[in-house]
């Protein structure tokens, strides 16, 4: 038997936003309120504790000799336990970046109203193995003047405001 595009049935039935808003078709709504408390584990636990101290810590794999950030208890490449803790710097370079006009829910930022776009980036941290980056935000820079390889430094919250979270670093900003 010949199989052609005829196999596409009349289904599915297309709905417009209006169909739902005006109640032409009925739907059931539910807003979940799920709450979690995630344990950080020993590696990220120490990482967060050091962020509270205003320092960035990594962990070394004694097999591949990579200095791993964020620190981890085992090396995912060598699959062996990692070795010593190593302090790294709070400076680095921009590996790649984005100029985002949307928030996490795909909601639009009021760019025309003067809201600054988010500028998340992968930042290669000085002292960690080349190419090892973390996700963080850039600020105090014209979004359109960010470039690959730009040198940046962490801007920390004041010590009394730090809680042991990745957000204890407010963002990274360019340095000479």
């Amino acid at each position: 038997m010949e199989i052609t595009d005829k196999m596409v049935a009349k289904t599915a039935t297309k709905l417009s936003a209006e169909d739902i808003q005006k109640g032409k078709v009925l739907s059931v709504k539910w807003t979940p309120n799920l709450k979690y408390a995630w344990d950080n584990g020993p590696a990220l636990g120490r990482y967060l504790a050091e962020l509270k101290n205003g320092r960035i810590i990594a962990k070394k794999c004694n097999k591949c000799h990579r200095i791993l950030i964020p620190p981890r208890m085992f090396c995912e490449l060598c699959w062996v336990p990692t070795g010593e803790w190593v302090y790294v710097k709070d400076t680095g370079i921009v590996n790649t970046w984005v100029i985002s006009y949307v928030d996490w829910k795909a909601g639009r930022l009021d760019i025309k109203g003067g809201v600054r776009p988010f500028t998340p980036a992968v930042i290669e941290i000085d002292g960690a193995t080349k190419g090892m980056g973390i996700l963080h935000l850039l600020n105090e820079v014209d979004p359109w003047k960010i470039y690959r390889g730009m040198r940046v430094k962490a801007v920390w919250k004041p010590p009394e405001e730090r809680i042991g979270a990745i957000t204890d670093i407010k963002y990274f900003k360019p340095v000479e």
Binding site: T13, W38, S100, V102, K105, A106, P117, P120, I134
Partner: protein, 385 residues
């Protein structure tokens, strides 16, 4: 291992919002797949289901919920999920069941209903990121694609206006696809002028959110030869997962896609993929992804895909047509169903039954690929007539 063929296929239309429930969508696609090869559910030995995050539907036993629609009542049934890579893992999962000798036939169904997550399914993706190091920064999926696209562009000097040609090509191809949600005749300028989402990603660089389902029927050789004169053989399968520490990989190149492709090529006996593959459906949820994957699949030299795109190499009448269906950008992107839609497109192309979308030159070997999770999974299937 036994040879396994695809003998039937079914596909619903893709819409931003379909009235049907996920179960009903799965039923329609599965029903059509059986009808297409004049088989009955009683001819089916087992069922596999591909469907992406439970968070889209808000149903935390989605495999079980969908089982009735997929025709799995009192049959051996398994659900699999590797994010956007799911739809091309689906035929691989079904292939195991038949190639192993365990079953003679397998119904493979992929379904996604993204419109249930309200107001936009993007919010459901926040929890794919590491809860300690990334989630507190409120990342969105678009960020990480834009991050990857930018690395790809700055590594090779690719320009946005050149990458935009992928959207022009795929949306045009989709005009000929009866399931398509977003077939259109657009220009590069339309892409560049469309809303900035997360530079370098504009609105028309992104595939839509969609509802839809797809299904295929797999059969062992002795059954396949009875069912159809034109079985399409699954000759190579490959899949691979990279580390979830995505910030420590160089995002300019998808190594995991290459590993998956090499696995599939080796199994299919393919030595020179760029010559031996006649038609391909690389995963294109974003414009740059099609090119990124073409390079990872070894269908173009690294850093050369844009030049080839500009020369028309990947057009439907080019040397190596890619996404002749219209792809995720044109047909739509109901995650797992998209991957299986791509498999179905290669199935139709190799049978010479793709209608207006038929690529010239009587292709005999094709490939479909999908990708997903935290930019870390590659799934590849090589098919021959």
């Amino acid at each position: 291992m036994r040879r396994v063929a695809i003998v039937g296929a079914g596909l619903t239309k893709f819409y931003r919002n379909a009235q049907e429930t996920p179960k009903e969508l799965a039923y329609e696609a599965a029903r059509m797949a059986l009808d297409s090869c004049e088989m009955k559910l009683s001819d089916i030995d087992c069922v596999v289901m591909g469907t992406a995050p439970d968070a889209f539907d808000g149903v935390h036993m989605k495999g079980e919920y969908l089982a009735d629609g997929a025709g799995a009542y009192r049959k051996p049934y398994m659900r699999h999920f590797v994010g956007g890579g799911t739809g091309v893992l689906s035929p691989i999962h079904g292939w195991f069941h038949v190639a192993s000798g365990m079953f003679d036939t397998c119904l493979v169904v992929a379904e996604e209903k993204m419109s249930s997550a309200y107001p936009h399914p993007a919010g459901a993706f926040l929890t794919i990121f590491d809860h300690t190091t990334e989630q507190p920064l409120y990342p969105t999926l678009i960020w990480i694609f834009a991050i990857e696209m930018n690395r790809f562009m700055t590594t090779w000097g690719y320009k946005k206006e050149d990458i935009a040609l992928v959207a022009v090509k795929n949306k045009r191809n989709a005009l000929d696809h009866p399931s398509a949600q977003l077939g259109a005749e657009i220009t590069v300028q339309d892409v560049l002028n469309s809303e900035i989402m997360a530079w370098p990603v504009n609105r028309l660089d992104i595939s839509p959110t969609s509802d839809g389902a797809a299904a295929i029927v797999l059969a062992a050789e002795h059954v396949a030869r009875r069912v159809t004169e034109k079985p399409i053989w699954i000759d190579g399968v490959g899949w691979c997962l990279d580390t979830a520490y995505w910030c420590t990989r160089d995002l300019y190149y998808p190594d995991y896609v290459e590993v998956a492709a090499r696995m599939a090529y080796k199994m299919a006996g393919i030595k020179e993929p760029s010559k031996e593959i006649h038609v391909a459906e690389p995963y294109d949820p974003f414009t740059y992804k099609e090119l990124h994957h073409i390079e990872g699949l070894l269908l173009a030299p690294r850093g050369k895909s844009v030049e080839m795109l500009k020369d028309g190499y990947f057009n439907r009448d080019g040397n190596l047509p890619t996404c002749p269906s219209g792809g995720a950008l044109g047909v739509g992107n109901p995650i797992s169903a998209t991957g299986l839609m791509k498999i179905i497109e290669i199935f139709l192309q190799l049978r010479g039954e793709a209608g207006k979308r038929q690529v010239p030159g009587k292709p005999t070997c094709g490939l479909a690929q999908a990708w997903g999770d935290l930019m870390q999974v590659g799934t590849v299937v090589v098919m021959r007539s």
